[in-house]
Structure formats: structure tokens, C-alpha cells
Symmetry: C2
Subunit: 347 residues, 2 copies
């Protein structure tokens, strides 16, 4: 591998001059244009690539942002990642992603990686079930800005970006209400998830406002013990066995919506003609489902983007030794109407 020394030797200038020129650093304007051209030319010819390790070591800036995701194969994570990437690209920061693979035991390794590489900040995509507070203290103790996406933590000096879950489910139920549905069924998420609770609150508050009665017979809940799909599938069958009839179904998320649609189809119910279904998340495959899913879009890319914006600001603040006060942002979800909902028919 070519070093800067070889470029210097070949071009006949000092290492410093080469460094200044290639970095367009301060004071480069004193270097004559001829010299600059010559140096660039030599560097190009030799195929010189600056050694980023050496650079980081000396300059004490890694130009690196740590991202910790709980499962890289989960579209939730990759969409947020996309938002992060797009936001930080112009800043010269490069994301280093570590993947927990849904396995807490990998936490320590990931942490070591990020700290060992001297990331200048970190964005953690919160595992719905697990978020080690050690993570946060390891970073905040060292004054490394940290942002959590998907969860708001109390009592820790850590920024966050979350979706307004209640606003989302309000959009969902409002949509069905506007279509004339009054007999609605619900598949709630498991209680261990904050999101479940918030989403349910959105539904209840809307129902209360418009005097819509929620039939307890038509409310079932995922326990979160097995596969969500399996469980939601069985809960839908369960709903169909109950005496109360319904023309619409709101599920905790898109995966359970898919399961519900599948169960309804199996039982001979047409979606949306016999029963409308609304999900939550807008996972990528929602648009291709049979039928394409009406759902609440979380704006994951924007969440990533906001997280990156915050962490960038905090990094800048830290560099200038200004105080860092955590910031909290909430994004508003959007309703995406596709083919799994339609006006209420007769019962």
C-alpha cells in the first residue's frame, strides 16, 4: 500500500505539503497551483489512499458514527439505517453498524467494537424488548453523544426519536369510522411493549370522543410468546368464532395484519368486502400483499434522519466543548390507504 511518504518522495515535496494539499487543509492556499497539480497527479498515479487509521490516530477524530441495530435483517432497522446514511453522507461521517442479531449476549462485543473504533457518536435502534442501560452510560460517561430511536428513556441524558403511536392508531380508527364502520375488532399488541399500550390508548381516546362503543368480545391480545404471525392468525380465527360480528379489524402491526388477512381468507371472508383490515408500520411488503395493505406509515427513514441530525449537532457541540443537552423528537405517522379497507357493508 502506498503511503504519503512515497507520494512525497515521488513528487519531491515534503510529507506535510502533500498532506496539506490532499486534504485541502488550512493554509493550502499558500501552496502554488503547480505544486498542487503535481502532487494530485502523483497521488493519482500511484493510487494513493490515505490510511484512515493513521489519520484518526493523529487527528483524534474518527469521522465515524456508531450504529447499533437489534436485527439487521429486520426492515424496521434497515429503513432507519437508510435515513441515517442519507443524512450523514454530506457530513463526511461514516456509519459503522453493529448487529445484535436479536441476541443480548453479543452486546459486549458490539460495545467493544464501537468504543475501540472511537466512534464520535452513536445511534441505537432500540430493541423493543431490550435496551441495556449500560450502553447508555458507557457512552454518556465518556461524553459521546447517544441517540436512541424507537424508545424514549427517562432519567438518562440520552436523546431520542420516537413515533407518535397514539396519533397513528387514531388515524387508523378515524379512517374506518369515516368509511362507516362501527363494529370493529382489535388485535392488541403484547403488554410488554410500550408501543402496544400507546397504540391502544389512541384507539380508546378516539372511540371515547366519537361515542363509539368498543365491544370487549371483539378485543383480543397477542401475548408475544410465539411467532407473532401464528398468534395473530389464531386470534383472528378466535374472533370469527365469537358471537359478535365485525366489519373491520385493526391490528397491532403489519405482520399481524397479514396473518389476520390470511385467516380471514382461509375462512372464506373477503378482504376488504366482508372485512376491512388496517395494520401499522408500513413494512415494505405491505404494498405487495394480497390485498395491498392499508396501514399506518411510521416514517422510519425520517426517524433515522432525525436521529442523525441530532447526533450530528451533538457531535459538533462536543467538538466545540459546548454543553450537550439531550433532544427529543416525535414523528407523526401517516395513513396509507391501499386495498384492504373499503366502506362498511351490511352485516
Amino acid at each position: 500500500m502506498i503511503t504519503i511518504r512515497e507520494v512525497a518522495g515521488e513528487s519531491g515535496f515534503s510529507v506535510t505539503t502533500v498532506s496539506m494539499v490532499l486534504n485541502n487543509g488550512a493554509g493550502v492556499d499558500r501552496i502554488s497551483q503547480r505544486t498542487r497539480n503535481r502532487i494530485w497527479e502523483v497521488a493519482r498515479q500511484l493510487g494513493y489512499r490515505p490510511n484512515l487509521h493513521a489519520r484518526s490516530l493523529r487527528s483524534n477524530r474518527s469521522q465515524t458514527l456508531g450504529v447499533m441495530v437489534f436485527d439487521l435483517t429486520d426492515p424496521y432497522c434497515t429503513q432507519i439505517l437508510r435515513g441515517i446514511q442519507n443524512h450523514i453522507r454530506p457530513s463526511g461521517l461514516f456509519p459503522i453498524v453493529t448487529d445484535l442479531q436479536d441476541d443480548r449476549s453479543q452486546f459486549q462485543t458490539c460495545l467493544d467494537m464501537l468504543l475501540g473504533r472511537r466512534v464520535e457518536g452513536i445511534i441505537s435502534i432500540a430493541n423493543p424488548l431490550y435496551l441495556d442501560s449500560k450502553l447508555l452510560s458507557e457512552f454518556s460517561d465518556r461524553n459521546i453523544p447517544a441517540v436512541v430511536i424507537g424508545r424514549e428513556l427517562s432519567n438518562v441524558p440520552v436523546s431520542s426519536v420516537v413515533v407518535d403511536n397514539a396519533a397513528g392508531t387514531r388515524l387508523a380508527i378515524q379512517h374506518l369510522y369515516d368509511l362507516g364502520h362501527s363494529k370493529m375488532a382489535f388485535i392488541k399488541g403484547p403488554d410488554i411493549l410500550v408501543d402496544s399500550i400507546q397504540r391502544w390508548q389512541g384507539l380508546e381516546s378516539f372511540a371515547a370522543e366519537v361515542d363509539l362503543e368498543l365491544d370487549p368480545e371483539l378485543i383480543v391480545q397477542i401475548k408475544g410468546r410465539n411467532s407473532t404471525f401464528r398468534e395473530a392468525y389464531e386470534l383472528t380465527e378466535e374472533l370469527l368464532r365469537r358471537r359478535s360480528r365485525f366489519t373491520a379489524l385493526i391490528t397491532f402491526d403489519d405482520l399481524s395484519a397479514c396473518a389476520a388477512i390470511r385467516a380471514l381468507s382461509k375462512a372464506g371472508e373477503r378482504v376488504p368486502e366482508d372485512c376491512s383490515v388496517v395494520g401499522f408500520d408500513d413494512i415494505p411488503s405491505a404494498a405487495f400483499y394480497n390485498p395491498p395493505l392499508t396501514t399506518i406509515q411510521q416514517q422510519l427513514e425520517m426517524q433515522g434522519s432525525l436521529g442523525a441530525e441530532i447526533v450530528e449537532q451533538l457531535i459538533r457541540a462536543a467538538a466545540e466543548k459546548r454543553m450537550l443537552t439531550p433532544k427529543h423528537r416525535k414523528v407523526f405517522p401517516k395513513l396509507v390507504v391501499r386495498d384492504s379497507t373499503c366502506p362498511a357493508g351490511k352485516l
Copy 2:
């Protein structure tokens, strides 16, 4: 951030000794157990994390594997990535992933990142449409082992892992044939993809062997101009308008299978009772589709794993200055039977 010097100072030993102890390096057995314990203890207390930049710089080994994916939000890529991660974890190598975001203009940036970080090897997940040969020469010129997943290149000293496409489609058509289908329709992939051609060859060769006639009226092809889903949807409608009837449909990939199923459902055809459908890839959502998709599983995780195995071997070879000869592996796909296929009915 704590440095090794501070650990040395605090513990009262020299930097050298601390380094030897913490790395369990050669010669550590000369250091007394008491000293070792003391050093570990001090390091722990101070929260010491070795600076990987400094380490790489000195030791001239980055312990880093570059991975270039064409789109990190594509499950194709993330599944392969998962395989890579799992394979290299024990080796101490850490993957640095760069994401092309389906945009060739980002190629140079990604390349600079990987070379600048002095990756010891690279795995490139081939964009179906685009693979810059510069990529390969930049690495092979520098004697950095490179593996391409998803494409086999001729005339370049680069290893590869590919799926046996023809074997896959043979499994698909065999499955339908065994179920008694004889009137089959096909949605071919675009000609620009090698995979399309290979998959089609598998179908043709099987048909020839069992004397199954392929009706040209029932063969349509994706052009690849717009969204695959849209196009496959329209092609299915087109097939339904033609005079020839069919009881089964083989599509280029899962996405087009989903589109086809959607179009069939819309047209009032039941899947699989009126028409069986087989896809290719086994994307994660295939299992949750309505109905769950019978498809050909590419074994992406294994492809990643094989790629990692190859690159690891080559890195070891390079370290020992042995010759590196490219290796080529082909993985055999598997048939996954779900609910989108059933025995042929009457026409």
C-alpha cells in the same frame, strides 16, 4: 479516553508489559500471575479500551472485512450479510459494510472507505445489473482477496459464490409436474439478467426431458423497465386474456409471484385451487403471503457463509504469503412447499 500508558502508569508496569498481558501475546507466560491479575484489574477499573486505529496502524492488520452491498434494505443482501457475520465472528474479523444504495455514483466513495480502512478482504454482493470491474482490479491489484456473491465472472482472478439457477427452476417445474400439471404458464425474467437465462434453461431442459410441451402462448417476459411488481401484475392479466388456459404458473422470482397471485385473486381465480404458483428466492415475506408461497429457496445465508469461508482462507493464505487461487462455489437451492400449489384440477 484511557490509553495503555495510563494503565501502565496506574499499575506500575511498563507499557510493553501491559500490552503483552492484555493481548495474551507471545511471551506472556514469562509474566507472573500476580502482575497479570494486577494489570487486568487496573484496566478494568479505568475502563480501558484499546484504540483499534493505533493497533491496526502498528500491527498492519485491520482485522476488518469489507462488505459491499448494492442495497442494504434488500432482504437479499441482509440475509447474505447474516451468513457472513455468523461465519466470521469466531475469527475476530469485523465486517465493515458499505451500501451502494442502488446508485453507481456512490461506488467511488465506498471504495475509498474500504481501501482507506485497509480491509483485509472484501465480499461484494453483486448488483444484478451492475458490477464495476474496477472494484475487482482495485483489490486484486493490491493483493486483497475478493469474493463476489451472486455472479461468476470470467477472466478475473476473483472468487465467487453463486446459486444453481437451473437446478432451482428444475425443482419448481418438477414439483408442478409431479402434482399433475401439464398446462403451465411462465413469467420469464428480463434478458439483461444472467439469472433469467439460467432459470429459463432449467425449465426448458426439464420440459424436454419429460416431453412436456411449452405453449408459446403461455410464456411472457418481464422487460425490467418499471417496477417488477407492476409489470408482473400486468403480464398475469395478459396471460388470463389469452386463449390458452393454464393450471399453474412459474414466475421469475417471489416478487413477481406475489404480483401474479394478486392479479389472479383480483380476476377471481383462486390460488392454488384454480392455479398453482411457484416463485423463486424465498424472500422473508413469502412465508406470510396470502397464500403462503411455494418457492425455491436460494440459501442466501449459506451463500454468505461460503463467501466468508473463502475470503477467510484467502486472507490466511495472503498472510502466509502463499499463492491465492480464486475459488468458485455453487450452492444448490431447495424447494419449499407452502400453500400456493396443489394438485392439478380439471380445466
